[in-house]
Symmetry: C2
Subunit: 411 residues, 2 copies
Amino acid sequence: MKISHLQCSLCKTTFSPNEVIYTCPHDGANIDVIPDYENIQQTVDFKEILSSPRQSIWRYLPLLPLSDPGFEATPLHRVGWTPIYAPKQLTHQLNVPSLWIKDESPNPSASFKDRASAVVLAKASQEGVRTVVVASTGNAGAATAAMGAAIGLDTVILAPKNAPPAKIAQLLVFGARVYLVDGNYDQAFELSIAASKEFGWYNRNTGYNPYTTEGKKTAAFEIWEQVLLNLAPEQTLNIVIPVGDGNIITGIHKGFKDLLRLGWIEHMPRLIGVQANGSAAIADAWQTNSHEIVPVQANTIADSISVNLPRDGWRALRAVWESNGCFVKVSDGEILTAITSLGKAGIFAEPAAAAAYAGLVKGINDGSISRENPVMVINTGSGLKDIKACMQAVAQAQIVEPNIQSLRKFI
Amino acid sequence: MKISHLQCSLCKTTFSPNEVIYTCPHDGANIDVIPDYENIQQTVDFKEILSSPRQSIWRYLPLLPLSDPGFEATPLHRVGWTPIYAPKQLTHQLNVPSLWIKDESPNPSASFKDRASAVVLAKASQEGVRTVVVASTGNAGAATAAMGAAIGLDTVILAPKNAPPAKIAQLLVFGARVYLVDGNYDQAFELSIAASKEFGWYNRNTGYNPYTTEGKKTAAFEIWEQVLLNLAPEQTLNIVIPVGDGNIITGIHKGFKDLLRLGWIEHMPRLIGVQANGSAAIADAWQTNSHEIVPVQANTIADSISVNLPRDGWRALRAVWESNGCFVKVSDGEILTAITSLGKAGIFAEPAAAAAYAGLVKGINDGSISRENPVMVINTGSGLKDIKACMQAVAQAQIVEPNIQSLRKFI
């Protein structure tokens, strides 16, 4: 796709794509990438997309800000086109007309973040970048390391020291240079910006690099193909999304904005953001109808959405306002319950991912989410990413002696 | 597919499918499921399979021993059709004409075992079974628990107490009844057989239930579609497979036997089994040209292929003999090195899965595997399954203070 221009999400100043790399030079706000919609309308027939043989995000190449990346038969080409499940028992329990879970765990590094890393690193590679740095609580780092390994880019990951071991193991096995920052995510974030200035590294940070949302918007395109095209036009889909920095909900919003602007959908689905009680800066702003996002001291079991200062909070608020959605806050206990609910449908979610389902249950019960609408929940990452947390959701297994007498006592 | 008959793999006695449930009543050997090939030839056009819209093992339904299982939009319908990667750097390092890695980690429970569990549990469900029991070091159990959750069957898992925590966490989250056996895998295996007799549970054990190989053979069908159809007929593909009980290599062999018998391929690929030095009962028999498999005291980091008495050893030997293949043995150190080699291509393998690549490297270097042939390596499970072991493959990450001065010292 051709980019028309970049635009500050706050002050609306426009820039050429060569003029600005990261955030707005005036106010530091996040930058929106504006496609050349006229050009897309003239050159792309959406039916060609629907019949693409590519079972990945690359079926949407005409809507992505880069040329064909190549790297066929690598993990870069396996990102996206993730399954949707329709668990009958949960649908029945919630008493909604339809419930779909979009499961992001089959992605190469087992989380939603592969979408952003695939697009950003492929684009970086096309622009001659050699080294990419990212600050990450884990998933964005693992995705960056995996995609870097897949296409031969060096990656440097700055992760907070307390990131779950599985995520750190992934980084190291993928061959990234890993530095564990003796501080929190927010400090790792600042350090990565300083490092990209000092060492000339390209920065992929969520809520900083404008192109992460261009990767994440592919989830909206898949929901369009997998669900929206089969819904009656008057039905509004509720999409429930876990929110930390706010970049995933912003990316999904961007995808639907693209489709709306192109006339390929008639109205925007309702975007519902879920934050953990212990990391709810954006939800708090929404609940007080404020544009100002006040940092918190984050404390939740859901490490992937644990953040003091959300880096894409303003655009996350905008996504919810513009889609007539809402925010829901959930406790760690509700998140753990959601892990077992999803597990009983054969879906293993990490805490941050289960937070979305927890938010749906809570929103349905307190009336903030209508029972009348079909619902899509995004399961953003595999439970294998954070075993220690998931183990808190279940009782310990019984230990038996290796004989039938011992087993019989428990049956 | 219609089943023609069952047949003991050792004494060749034939049985009707209603006559025998598990192993041969005469000698206890594993049972082969023999399709009604004439019926398949008359009713199935392989081009219909090649153009199936199903991106899963269910594209091969005409070759599977059950009717359409239903359960659309559940994880059961997402098993298989896993990606193959062609990592250029590893191909170059090994100096082979082509190298493909078939990555089984995108399966719903992140391992190859979903193939067997999907077919066995769907078949069990069709036959009115309510409860399925399995003994497992982890992956078969997780697959059974996941598929049971997906389709509403009760599952009972008997795992050795020392199984990796990630695998136990999966079992519990999927809602299985989990009993940790204070003993090894072999004791859990015997206990599961006693339990299925006592409580009337259907037993899914690897190397005991005849239908596991009918699920596992789908990997051969995918290799046929993804690779063999594009190879020149005179090229023989080497397929490198990690071996514990011997059931995966037996299943893949069965798939190619089906294709050969149907005339859909012209010759058998060469099957190469890899065992860990510390769990090499089958490879030892092969190396001494013996039909007798002598149990060992298993001790290897690769828990998924750690077994004293392989339960499908005879058929694994047969697979290698009949395909003109070989066995290779690898050390735990070689397995750890393979984890990092695959990681640098963006593929995260658990130790048992990396053993296959380690075996390829070793076999190429010692001449037991020819450099002349294209190669396929099966990556049977995700590295997220066993973080502790994978961490032994890499150096620890550096810890830095959250400032550029501290980071600068390491760059």
